[in-house]
Symmetry: C2
DNA sequence: TTGCTATGTCTTTCATGGATACCATAAGCA
DNA sequence: TGCTTATGGTATCCATGAAAGACATAGCAA
């Protein structure tokens, strides 16, 4: 590895001069700079981020915490897309990304210590149990931190606009003439609470009276539970004409229940009976089965998270913590029948 | 941040002694060691990986290269699972993971330089265009490197056992009494070639004569193309009784074609007509629709990659480059009818 | 015009960041 | 004296930043 020392020797100047030349300091002669840069280029010099980090106490490295006990973290397209967005934005600013875990060396330790050990400039936290004391410890430290889909007092949070998302879906169905809209929702988390709020908000604004049996709690990514929930809905004396499903996995379970009951969603249907369906963030199913879905803008969430985190790092004084709501959009398929025509 | 210096001062010993005590060197007194360790603990001392890396030239940081032009890299469950396996194994050995990209700072540069810049101990390469000159440059460098699903001369490669995978599936269908087995396969890549080899191998060994129109080229993750391919198969004068699909996405497209033709897979079927289906690495669909599939052991592939890479790093002399075939297994669902009963 | 200081530009010296490796030294004991 | 064991001193990894030094030119008084 060629270092500044080598360049200095070759150019007959001191190491400090080389440092100045390569870092674009202004108190250095034009010719010297050119000469040094040329030699650096020629020798294939590459800065050593380790040495720089030691001296400057800045690593240009961001930590990413994606704990996923159920191995469902990165497997979720939502999270892997967030990661990609985060990565893209971070890289554009010259930051790299390192995963955080609760080891230091091969000894278990706290997340906070891990961050210090690696000298990370900041961290993004997503998809974890936000009540985990180790996470709380991290949030209580002075390391710049941004969370996704969760609010920690005093920290910037990037939030998917769940309220507006479900509101949009319900209005969409309403405009297609649906009045009997059911909602199978996920377990009790901040995300789910937002979506339920959106549902009730839309119903209230539209003057829809939704019977309580149309709102069924389930669990995210559990096709069997959702199949069961769908079955219940289909067996109601007055079944809904449209069902809002919580996610891809669940929808497939629900669709199985439909097939079993001799019905399917519009366009795919080869039965007399059909039920309209809406998905939440079912991007793949939108592609595969033309399901109408609200798409969370996961890529934008990731990019925004990186952007805000980097701002926190570079301008700690000017920056206020904030809550950024990232809205998605409706991806229209053919799974909702227009009852108006 | 408390450093060794602080501990040394507090204990009245030299920094060198502290280093020895904390690193488990043996040329140090038991009592001194205990005292130093206790104080370190008490003061909340945390090693500084940056300083250590500078001195030892070892970062305990592994690079991960997951280029994904089509944004299909981490979104693939296969790759995100590999990442998780890799991460788990690396962390167990005290290594962290940093993404590699072709930037250094915010300037575009080579992957190789990026690795040097960060002082990475080794790299794993997956899901990229292996003909990209920047990748070739990386492979030509002296940085320890392991590839996944691709072989670079002189480097260790971890390979999913595609030949055996398809072979297993075909034998399974055969044992269930199927003789008319169709195969919709992906685009021409090393992976696909392996799978085709497995298909032909199984047919030959089983004495199956598969008509050429049963083997249809498609593209991975393209439900529309697969829908079309399935339609073709169903319209044949002598259609297959079992279809092997290339992936989850494609299967859903294929299943749509089935529904349209008034048939479905066993168990789900509410029609008279049914077609058995097999998937390749369709783990989610196995969960959701009880599809029988061959599961690649992506987690094991990731772990193996980390294991071999770390071996290369820690024992550069003893270690020979090798090609490791990771086999998966059959995940039996209800999507293949047993024609024997 | 000479000579001296002031000014500004460029470059070097030196200390520093935290940890480790090597060598030196001291103490203790055979 | 020679050897082991425990500990300290110091250089080093590479880059940076503050401060000091070198040098040249400009400005001004004598």
């Amino acid at each position: 590895m060629v270092s500044m020392k080598d360049i200095a020797k070759r150019c007959g100047v001191s190491v400090a001069t080389v440092s100045k030349a390569l870092n674009g300091q202004k108190d250095i002669g034009q010719e010297t700079r050119k000469r040094i840069c040329a030699v650096a280029q020629e020798m294939g010099y590459m800065a050593n981020s380790v040495a720089r980090a030691l001296k400057t106490n800045r690593s240009y490295n961001l930590g990413m915490l994606f704990v996923d006990e159920r191995r469902s973290g990165l497997g979720h397209e939502y999270f892997s897309t967030i990661l990609e967005g985060f990565k893209a934005e971070a890289e554009a600013h010259g930051f790299d990304i390192t995963f955080i875990n609760s080891h230091v060396g091969n000894q278990p330790d706290s997340y906070t210590k891990h961050c210090r050990y690696r000298g990370l400039d900041g961290i993004v936290v997503a998809c974890v149990d936000f009540n985990d004391p180790r996470i709380l410890d991290l949030a209580a430290s002075d390391i710049p931190l941004v969370t996704i889909d969760h609010i920690f007092e005093g920290h910037t949070a990037i939030l998917s606009d769940n309220i507006n998302g479900v509101d949009t879906l319900v209005r969409y169905a309403y405009n297609k003439g649906h009045r009997k809209i059911a909602f199978i929702h996920g377990e009790n988390t901040a995300v789910t609470r937002g979506r339920l709020t959106g549902f009730h908000q839309a119903c209230q604004n539209l003057g829809l009276e939704i019977p309580p049996e149309y709102i069924i709690p389930s669990v995210y990514h559990d096709p069997d539970l959702c199949e069961e929930a769908t079955r219940k809905l289909l067996q109601l004396p007055d079944p809904p004409t449209c069902i809002l499903f919580p996610d891809d996995f669940s929808f497939i379970g629900g669709h199985n229940a439909m097939l079993e009951a001799g019905c399917s969603i519009p366009r795919l249907s080869v039965f007399n009976r059909e039920i309209s369906a809406l998905g939440y963030d079912c991007i793949n199913l939108a592609r595969m089965m033309h399901l109408t879905t609200y798409t969370q803008n996961a890529y934008a969430i990731g990019r925004t998270a990186a952007d805000r985190l980097i701002r926190l790092i570079e301008h700690p004084d000017e920056t206020q913590t904030e809550q950024v709501l990232v809205s998605g959009g409706l991806l229209e398929g053919t799974s909702v029948r227009d009852l108006n025509v």
